[in-house]
């Protein structure tokens, strides 16, 4: 990264994630590299199956059975990939915590929400039950749940989807983490509620100097909240740039294809130019550039070797051999 910047909070290098399969392994995340600065939001965008959630789970050290990660994940300067599980447990939930897409499945339906927030505190902090109760109310207030003193006695099903997501966020920030991972935190929510939740996350980030890894397929959410963006395709980050540049001067045909797919105002009455075909499965990717079978910029060398992840302009990376020719703009 460019000189003069402070050391990033999280730095991922050469991250590979494999699944063991009957016939050898299948690699679903490949040579991933990005870093997150303190107090800033990194947006990770990409379509379904591109490897966003697995990347998040590998940072948390909770990959599903059968999955294995290799490479390096440094958090506050020390490696956390492959830490023994008791060491990782003292980081997870405390230093790094996560909010998932569907709050209903991550909350326990038979326990009052006050109890669940209190437990999140007691699991990591040496405080009394009474103190935890007081802090639980404060936390619920900080995520803007109205009348938290009464709400702590509610069960999850008594809350709206937006309120449940607020409770999940309260639990995630209970121990003042320095990194919050939000994996599609608003996909299940309505537009006006989505705007509120993203705004809440952004406010908490600013108040607590927290970093956020915001995973979403919504480029609008990224445009509004992220400072740096990584675009994933088929397990790779194919483009990484400061947020303004992604929209004003994308340097990878896949990013351009995503932006072309959005029916902006000025497209009314005109056909869109979507990316042809669909994402192949991890075992059906073309040789060379993994996007080459759908790419309209393809030339013969594209399928000979996989393009490097190259810095095109300071802080702007692309995995495309023709990146420097990309002149597209919205």
């Amino acid at each position: 990264m460019s000189a003069g910047m402070t050391a990033p909070l999280l730095e991922i290098k050469d991250l590979d994630i494999f699944f063991a399969r009957a016939k050898g392994g299948v690699k679903v995340v490949n040579k991933l590299a990005f870093s997150i600065q303190r107090g800033s939001i990194f947006g990770l965008a990409g379509e379904s199956g591109s490897g966003k959630s697995l990347t998040a789970l590998s940072i948390m050290g909770i990959l599903p059975n059968g999955a294995r990660a290799e490479g390096s994940i440094e958090f506050k300067g020390s490696g956390i990939l492959g830490l023994p599980s008791e060491k990782m447990r003292s980081i997870r939930g405390k230093e790094i915590s996560m909010v998932f897409q569907e709050p209903m499945t991550s909350l326990n339906p038979v326990l009052k929400i006050g109890y669940q927030v209190r437990e999140a505190l007691l699991a990591h902090l040496p405080i009394s039950k009474k103190e935890a109760q007081t802090r639980a109310v404060q936390l619920l207030r900080s995520v803007m749940i109205p009348a938290p003193e009464q709400r702590i006695n509610d069960y999850p099903h008594q809350l709206s989807g937006g309120m449940r997501q607020r409770v999940m966020i309260a639990m995630a920030i209970a121990c003042n983490p320095s990194l919050l991972i939000a994996d599609e935190p608003t996909t299940a929510l309505d537009v006006t509620i989505e705007a509120q939740i993203l705004e809440l996350i952004d406010t908490l980030r600013a108040e607590r100097d927290m970093s956020v890894l915001l995973i979403t397929h919504d480029l609008g959410a990224i445009a509004r909240h992220a400072r740096t963006v990584g675009v994933m395709y088929a397990g790779r980050i194919v483009e990484l740039a400061p947020v303004g540049e992604i929209f004003s001067g994308p340097k990878h045909p896949y990013t351009i294809g995503l932006l072309e797919s959005i029916p902006f105002k000025n497209k009314r009455g005109m056909p869109l130019k979507p990316i042809p075909g669909s994402v192949p499965p991890p075992w059906g990717l073309p040789p060379g550039c993994k996007f080459s079978d759908r790419c309209s910029f393809k030339i013969p060398p594209c399928q000979q070797a996989e393009p490097e992840f190259e810095e095109i302009t300071p802080g702007h990376f692309s995995r495309c051999i023709r990146a420097r020719e990309m002149k597209w703009t919205l």
Partner: protein, 333 residues
């Protein structure tokens, strides 16, 4: 001339009881909705979850009977049609749903799925069916090689194409599409969107297009109805509506959509500008449809509310100086 389809003051109430011995109450899923779709027009319906969009779609397609009100197809009430007329109606009006997997029979091949309505309505000689199916698949960008395959072998986008091909098999005049894109990735959404707008241009099909994605609605619609808690709060030509929304809910809804626009111009990250946008998004939760607020249903969240708002229900009317537009808001009445 009669519009293709006309919904008149539709209501759908679901009775329920709070607790075992509680008082009988009603959930007003749709409460007095009127709208029209003319030939070769697209009416977009937007609204948040629980606003009654799907319930409306089910009544317009006669899958459900309204509690009161009527649906007229070319001027004739669909709920008093005889069997023959109803069959014609079922052919002319097709529906496609959000979840393309749930609406396909897992044990039927692509060929059987698309051939079934052709057989039911006797639209082709037996020997010509295969050719007709192939033609329909081509319209939605699929090839012949998939004829003998089953739904589970396809991606979400391919399944939605199959559903569209099945709907097209009977040469419908109106397609009611209930969130047809929301299960799909953006690049696939754009492919399907192109197919739908081609159908409008080429076959002059009308659409009642339900979606919570405002960009998609703006792109495709000629007119738009905005629903909130069972009511249409604003209805207008699409261009006017997106240019200048009048109802405070519409204003807030539009403000909630993250603006790529500022970035479109390559604007650098600017927290101040972002803040201004945020302030406009409506505060508070969407009330439950079992507890619809009195007066204007939006008043608890409305930044513009004043004295009549929590008492009188505003009617959908044309505001002074805004010809062709309809708003249900005391500010404009």
């Amino acid at each position: 001339m009669d519009p293709l389809i006309k919904a008149q003051d539709l209501r759908k109430f679901f009775p329920f009881r709070k607790g075992l011995f509680g008082r009988e109450m009603v959930l007003k899923a749709v409460d007095g909705v009127s709208l029209e779709v003319a030939e070769n027009r697209v009416l977009g319906v937007v609204g948040e979850s629980g606003s009654g969009k799907s319930t409306l779609a089910r009544m317009v397609t006669a899958l459900d009977r309204p509690t009161s009100g009527d649906v007229l197809f070319r001027g004739k009430s669909v709920f008093s049609m005889d069997r023959h007329e109803l069959k014609q109606f079922r052919r002319a009006v097709q529906i496609i749903f959000q979840d393309p997997f749930a609406s396909l029979n897992p044990r039927a091949t692509v060929f059987d799925t698309i051939a079934e309505p052709i057989r039911i309505h006797r639209l082709a000689e037996k020997k010509d069916i295969e050719q007709k199916v192939a033609g329909l698949l081509k319209d939605v960008g699929l090839g012949m090689e998939i004829l003998r395959r089953y739904p589970h072998e396809f991606s979400g986008g391919q399944r939605q194409r199959i559903c569209i091909a099945r709907a097209l098999a009977v040469s419908p005049r109106l397609i009611v599409a209930d969130e047809p894109l929301s299960a799909l990735d953006v690049s696939i959404q754009a492919q399907i969107l192109n197919i739908l707008s081609d159908l409008k241009k080429r076959d002059r099909i009308s659409f009642l297009f339900i979606s919570h994605d405002l960009r998609v609605v703006e792109y495709l619609s000629d007119e738009v109805a905005v629903m909130y808690l069972g009511k249409v709060v604003e209805r207008s030509g699409a261009e006017g509506l997106f240019e200048k929304p009048l109802h405070p809910y519409t204003v807030g809804l539009f403000a909630s959509v993250p603006a790529i626009k500022a970035r479109e111009m390559g604007a650098p990250f600017d927290e101040k500008m972002e803040e201004k946008v945020e302030k406009a998004a409506p505060k508070g939760d969407i009330p439950s449809p079992i507890d619809i607020p009195p007066g204007c249903p939006f008043h608890p969240r409305c930044p513009k509310r004043f004295s009549p708002c929590d008492k009188a229900i505003p009617q959908l009317m044309e505001p002074a100086g805004q010809p062709g537009r309809l708003v249900a808001c005391h500010l404009w009445n």
